[in-house]
Amino acid sequence: MTEPQGGGFIIFATFLVGLVLSQMPLPDMLAWARPEWVVLILIYWVMALPHRVGLGSAFLLGVLLDVVRGSVLGLSALSLTVIAFFVVILYKRLRMFPLWQQSLMVLVLVGINQLLFHWMQSITGTTGDSLLFLLPSLVSALVWPWLYLLLRAVRHTFYLQ
């Protein structure tokens, strides 16, 4: 294993792209079905490079996401940290899984993220009365294989280790 080297900027750039995508306006029909880009990208990097992207980066990313979203500071930070923790535990197994099985895991992880986020949000006052907020986890699972291949291509192009 070589020393961690360069490319932090590339990882950061992919997170930025994720943040932008998470803010893109969508038509009303699709508003509920937005894939959780930031969570997906985080899962990929923690899985691929657990020694470089871990709980700390997840927390900082979460704070940024909170500021962008306008939610109470720390909501996304907490839920993203929890997700990163799960992936840190599971990454060896995740890497062995075929893509469809990874998608199932992503479904569960994003689902946990959504539940955490909305539970905490309802504690802090913003309530919703529909379970539709779980829909993004399904969409994210469907998006996962493509995102995985894309990010792996990025990683190989820039020799990120």
């Binding site: 508003a31 962008v68 109470v72 907490l78 009365d129 907020f133």
Partner: protein, 257 residues
């Protein structure tokens, strides 16, 4: 999280953090802006002429209304002087542009292109051509967030324009729906009534349209009448909004302290 909820100083910290992501919000807005620009450029002559025609006739109608307006305002001022009542201010407004929408479907918030550097303040009312949109709830240096009146957290004091009955219009978290709470069964209110801001609560100036009642459900099984209204502002379509330079007396005192 607790700090953000309970510690006012955090607002400042948040504003500084928001400064970091402001370029991101601009970036997100670029595609829409480009699309707008393109559709401005490639519009055909016939539709421009049609639009021009429509705008001219609209201007004519509005001008006619304004003619009466001057006379009515003068009359109103004279009557108020007779009554020795205080002046009704006509607060200044300024045009701002919307640069983003909160993607969370549970929160009805939009982001404006002006912030505390442009002297936007917390709680400032926001209007569009149709009526009240909402109020500013958080500030960054160059952007600000506006909570729309349909957000589940929003409540706005209103009165029925026809007879002055006062109530509070609550957002339900659903686009195009407001609800009046605790309306007694005997109140004279019916579908089609215009709701305007009552100026109570001191946040919104008086007399701007908020919504139109579209359904009144009098159910003997319920203690109160259920009144549903549709906002008159085009909450999900307006791109250009008006910020009202209106500070309630309570806010001014708070600033002076």
């Amino acid at each position: 999280m607790a700090a953000d909820l309970h510690w006012p100083k955090m607002k400042e910290g948040r504003a500084w953090l928001s400064l970091l992501v402001t370029p991101l919000q601009w970036l997100v807005d670029i595609p829409t802006r480009v699309a707008d620009g393109v559709s401005d450029v490639v519009v055909d002559r016939a539709s421009l002429l049609r639009e021009n025609e429509a705008l001219k006739s609209e201007a004519l109608v509005l001008e006619r209304k304004v003619q009466q307006m001057a006379a009515l305002t003068a009359e109103n001022i004279r009557l108020r002087e007779l009554l020795a009542a205080g002046d009704r201010l006509d607060p200044e407004t300024r045009l701002v542009e919307l640069i983003g929408v909160n993607p969370d479907p549970f929160q009805h918030e939009v982001i404006l292109n002006q912030g505390s550097e442009d002297h936007v303040f917390d709680g400032q009312p926001v209007l569009d051509a149709g009526g009240v949109m909402g109020q500013v709830v958080s500030l960054a240096h160059y952007t600000s967030r506006v909570m729309l009146i349909t957000d589940a957290r929003s409540a706005i004091p209103v009165e029925v324009n026809r007879n002055g009955f006062r109530s509070v219009a609550l957002g339900k978290g659903v686009m195009d729906e407001l609800e009046l709470e605790h309306v007694p069964d005997t109140v004279d209110i019916r579908a089609g009534d215009l709701l305007v801001t009552s100026g109570l609560g001191g946040r919104f100036p008086r007399g701007y349209p908020v919504g139109r009642v579209h359904e009144v459900i009098r159910d003997p099984g319920r203690p109160f009448t259920l009144v549903k209204a549709v906002p008159t502002a085009r909450l999900d379509r307006s791109r250009h909004l008006l910020l009202v330079e209106y500070r309630s007396s309570a806010d001014v005192e708070a600033v002076d302290d």
